[in-house]
Amino acid sequence: MTAPIRERRARRAAADDVALIGHLMRRAAFGARAEHLEQLARKSYGAVVDDLVNPERFPPLEEDLLERFHSDQSDDESTGWTATRWSFQMINSPRPLEFKMALFWHGLFATAVSKVTNNPMMRNQYQMLRENGLSDFRTILQRLARDPAMLYWLDQQQNHAAAVNENWGRELLELFSMGRGNYTEDDVKAAARAFTGWTLDQTFPRYPSGYYDVRFVYRPEDHDETPKTFLGRTGNFNGDDIIDIILEQPATAHYLALHLYKFFVSDEPNRDEVEALAQTLTESRFDIRVTLKAMFLSEYFRQARFKRVRSPAEHVIATVRIAGRYTNAWEHGIDGLEDAIGRMGQQLLNPPTVEGWHPGREWIDSAYLIERVNFAADMLGDPSAPGVVAISRRIAGGRSGIEALALVDAVLYEMGALMLSPAAKQAIIENLELVGEVACNPPEVFANTVARVCRTISTAREFQLE
């Protein structure tokens, strides 16, 4: 083999590595530009996965500056601010999987401020999901069953030994762990009785001093101590016993595996692949970290590129990361992100119902699509955006010009090894009237051209996928 061929193959292999890691970073994180992907590609794919699922290897994001420059949020009253803080973390944290998993669990355990109406409770639930999101499902369910926001959301404070409220018990089985068809109405009642006495303490009203934290409390005098029969087992169960029995059911592993698959792999589940994931969950005793690692290393995950519609939060954060915006705490306007995400149909910390959002193609209705396209086009069409400036500098390198198709390919690569069909690329070239070789100088003019290409790419169908 001649040297040029070897060199060409090596370059192609390196590009393949960057593309694969780009795929991983879109799914397990919130995307990255090629500049960052090339750094990651110096390590093996397995090592990058290992770093992602072990976020404690990296220092936590310093958030004090965010508080410093948003002292107007000192009252901690706005759930919009909690969502803004989450956005900042998703954009900047060196531990992105923590925040991605918080997004996953928030979708599964949908709790809305529209009923809870207390930001400290919502903030605490979000922090709980973030801190425990990579632990194991038992721990997560146990924490969830003691989470004041969830308890209030599902009326658990009204679940008394003498007057049972089944709301939490029902949703625990139906939406949070097993799914319909795997339990009976009697199981729901037994679960609800086992959780009697699990409640929250009284907090201050909003006026005149604002919201205060709420604590979980267990009131033994209000707990039903009589025997219960739940999923074929009989005993004087409490809430933790119910969670343990749920985790023994094969349906639980399948239910969680299906949700993980749809969140990380594809909107169209493959039965065998979901089954494999469920088996990993069971064998690892529902260890989320182990399961995610196995999933990211699997062949089906590597092949599943651009098979998911990005959720609004993923779309906004990935776009912001390409644009290089809001990397410091004092950049004005970050509080607009949660609003943008909401306009696309995913108001963080305020899902429409306990079922959460319906992902996949349902993110793309005509109104939401316009919001998605407009947001990305505005963000990436700004030639002064730091990310766009960096992209144009890297492409220009030392060269005087670049051929139009090569420019589109280079921009796609720089935006995170994205892919477009040949027809879409040609459409961009025609739309922007790029003819022959595009001059790389003067830099401001070239940055404008790159911004126009970025902007047009952001309107493509493929940009809605990851």
């Binding site: 420059f69 107007d72 000192s74 009252d75 907090t203 201050f204 205060y212 004092w330």
Partner: protein
């Protein structure tokens, strides 16, 4: 473009109830700052009795009240001007000063400019959005700096926006994240340019007179400084070095003279200090925001006292709660009401010439006011103060 300063003065809307007029026909003189004398030559020796909680101003109400008060300024008309970042009455978004009368049993009324100062703003299309610290000169001009728009706004206590000054940038004298400010003895302004990690000195019209500071964690360096105060005794500059968790005293040309406090969460320790003030005795008050309290130190840097908040619901707050029986029932079932008294993320602390300490209890929608109880001893009553005093037992 027509500048805001060129626009006609806006009419001021005064909302004063009949009851208020009857009870308080004229503003009190309590908050009037003393005429600023030339610097004194020595700190007095004090017999300290401690600070007594006096009143909580504001609170969150459906109409009126505060939302996110960040600072107070003392007007020459005897009123207290509270920087209220987000008005709570649905009237306007933005920032405004709320005029408050300070009296022992606490009542307030407001002066509401028709528009928040800055609309449509220095650049013609956005409101001022991040005013935080404020001062008022003897002419009744309020000054505040917009941290995000890098400009200083001047507004009369009658509600007229008088104009803006300042050039954004990272050079000495340019504004970059301006926040903390205080008046010097001659009523010139000291302003903290947080993002330049500097403290700069300006005339009231914006002419740069000097300044100092550079980013770092070293002894004489600053790291995102926030509040600033001028020592009324000797004119030295006291700065809350926010990210270094310290307060530092500098000479007017930037030489480090003293480090006050140390990082931490314990007694006399600071975590992300914000506002800072110094009273006529040389006592330094620090809004220890990260620890949800205010600390006081004497001029030697010795920790004296901490303020964690003692507010009880004032009459207007109680009236608000009483309009909603659900809230009354909720309160009836609450264990430990102490939590409600405490400070939350105080941004600023100021002192007036009557020994009152005003803490902007930003996270709890109120200003907590304490009164300093002490006696300043005549020089002939005590030995000259010394730097180190040997402990004695009586």
């Amino acid at each position: 473009m027509t500048g805001v300063a060129d626009r006609p003065a806006r009419k001021v809307e005064r909302m004063r109830t009949t009851k208020a007029k009857a009870l308080w026909p004229a503003p009190l003189s309590a908050a009037i700052p003393a005429p600023r004398a030339p610097y004194q030559d020595r700190y007095p020796t004090l017999f300290r009795r401690g600070h007594q909680f006096e009143i909580a101003l504001g609170q969150r109400l459906a109409l009126g009240g505060f939302k996110g008060p960040t600072d107070v300024a003392f007007g020459p008309d005897g009123w207290l001007y509270v920087m209220n970042r987000y008005p709570n009455d649905g009237h306007l978004a933005g920032v405004r000063w709320v005029q408050v009368n300070v009296k022992d049993d606490g009542f307030e009324f407001e002066v509401v400019p028709k528009d928040p100062p800055g609309k449509p703003g220095a650049t013609g299309h956005e409101w001022l959005g991040s005013l935080q610290m404020t001062v008022c000169d003897s002419q009744g001009v309020l000054y505040s700096a917009d941290e995000h728009r890098h400009t200083v706004v001047r507004c009369s206590i009658r509600g007229e926006t008088l104009g803006y000054w300042g050039h954004p940038g990272d050079k000495p004298g340019q504004l970059n994240g301006p926040t903390g400010m205080c008046l010097d003895a001659d009523e010139s302004l000291w302003i903290v340019n947080t993002l330049n990690h500097r403290v700069d000195h300006y005339t009231r019209e914006g002419e740069w007179l000097g300044g100092f500071g550079q980013q770092g964690t070293g002894p004489g360096e600053l790291n995102f400084p926030w509040g600033v105060a001028i020592d009324p005794i000797n004119g030295t500059v006291v700065v809350a070095d926010w990210r270094n968790d310290l307060v530092k005293r500098f000479s007017r040309d930037g030489k480090l003279l003293q480090v006050i406090g140390r990082p931490g969460h314990g007694e006399g320790e600071l975590h992300r200090p914000a506002g800072v003030a110094e009273d006529n005795h040389g006592d330094i008050y620090v809004a220890d925001r990260g620890n949800n309290r205010v600390l006081s130190f004497n001029y030697r840097g010795m920790f004296i006292e901490s303020f964690i908040g003692d507010a009880v619901i004032n009459d207007r707050g109680m009236q608000k709660v009483l309009t909603n029986l659900d809230m009354v029932r909720m309160r009836d079932n609450i264990e430990n009401l102490d939590r409600e008294k405490r400070l939350k993320a105080p941004v600023s602390v100021r002192v007036d010439n009557k020994g009152r300490v005003y803490i902007a209890d930003t996270g709890r929608y109120r200003v907590q006011v304490y009164r300093k109880m002490c006696k300043a001893l005549r020089p002939d009553e005590v030995d000259p103060p010394t730097l180190h005093v040997d402990p004695v037992l009586t």
